[in-house]
Symmetry: C2
Amino acid sequence: MTATTLHRPTHRDALYLLEEAFGDGRMVTLFGRCTVDYDGRATSSLGPGDRLVVCKPDGTILVHTDEKRKPVNWQPPGCTHRASVRDGHLRVRSERSTPTERLDVAFERIDQVTAYEVTDRSDLRLQGSEEDLRRRILDDPALVEEGFVPQATERETAAGPVDVFGEDAAGRPVVVELKRRRVGPSAAGQLQRYVEAVDEEFPDEGVRGVLVAPSVTDRARELLAERGLSFVAVEPVADEGDDESGDGDSVAKAEGDGGDDGADAGRDDGPDAGDDAADESDDAADDTAE
Amino acid sequence: MTATTLHRPTHRDALYLLEEAFGDGRMVTLFGRCTVDYDGRATSSLGPGDRLVVCKPDGTILVHTDEKRKPVNWQPPGCTHRASVRDGHLRVRSERSTPTERLDVAFERIDQVTAYEVTDRSDLRLQGSEEDLRRRILDDPALVEEGFVPQATERETAAGPVDVFGEDAAGRPVVVELKRRRVGPSAAGQLQRYVEAVDEEFPDEGVRGVLVAPSVTDRARELLAERGLSFVAVEPVADEGDDESGDGDSVAKAEGDGGDDGADAGRDDGPDAGDDAADESDDAADDTAE
DNA sequence: CGTGCCAGGTGCCAT
DNA sequence: ATGGCACTTGGCACG
């Protein structure tokens, strides 16, 4: 079996399962009413409430409430988990050093504990990063400007590595800074530091700086102008044509709303199948509840 | 009941539970073998593997593997969850607009689905933030320097709001930038922008800039020196005396290690109770497995 | 809504 | 370990 679950366990039984799971590297989720205390880079305390706690075999621990993407409390990978029963509470403690940090979760009631055997060898393939943008620039340097010739990436300077370094049609050195999304003043400052550094390497050659990004804030634009730097607008991802959507048989829809949604539980958005264009070849073996 | 669980459910049964849970604002966890595809600000795809999926009633969805603190894929609050059964897979789709993003999780096997009723009214109390540091500076301006007189916080300038603005013993304007931890070059740049902006408001008054932080990197120190800015070392949190640790009855210990720990499942670290100094008043009603 | 900035940021890779 | 920086950064406050 790959998932072992206890419902409403005693603290002692929950402890046994945690022992086993921690011992053989299984992932654990706990759900119940608990308080959370953290002390480390900062300090925090959280009163009683129902939360989902996830303990990973790599030493990560996450405490999630019913809101937000970020855990309300956590501990990063590399920590040591311990569990014990004290004062009528099941306590899960996670600690690390450098820096010294400690997280305590104290359950007064445990609704469920589950230990999972996880096997996952797949790696995420992500596109649209700054890395992609760099490849695009190298593929087509004219995106920066006509006549631009890239000569190096990640070229080291006294101010740190420059994304793309090259020269323009007139042979002047060009420093290119890439950003995959809209940039603010800090990017202008970063670019200027690079230009200044390269300028010391090539005195009197009139080193230029170009910021490549989808867009720029007003203030950053001003800063660039003040400092004689240029901006070139380039979308972070190549045109990926049409995104097909539409899913025919929508079921189990949740609006994603805090809570006070009142009376809106209508489930009568049923007959909307067969939207428009034939999208994916998804129209096979549909099994829809109801 | 506050947790409803299905073990090894059919896709159809899992779908029913998802419907209900999405409908009445319960939190859901799914565990099983799945693939994940994302398209939005970037694009990603993840091959088959065992993962834990968390769907929150606020529209958040998280896909966690057995490693790392960050979900391998996710969708932020405010999204709309839908579930359906297609091509022999249970598909959970989460979408939003502005920006348009879509996440699809396709389960080929579901080991467990659970719906939780979450009630959590407690707010996290966090200490050690920049806000705390600001209060300390205002309490004791001499931490910045002898004779410093704060006049405003978050004072607006052309370069943005200044953390603390005031004047020194000689009546010169002082811009104070606060950082709760060790700072790098970007903080120096930020402070310089502020000083330049205030300098335009008070020409010829010799506006000064002070960076207050626990410590500073070498490069940032150089930049500050070049630009005539000062640095003052201040610890982010007031001395909180002694941190007590030690927990006597450690049980269910997990090292926090990738996986290849070989033979180390020994559970014979038992007789280490009663460590050293009498720590907390925790020594009551201890119930320890074994 | 965009704009700007802090965060217990996290993660990755360099020295 | 420290440093520098990208990130589907996330989150909040403000215009």
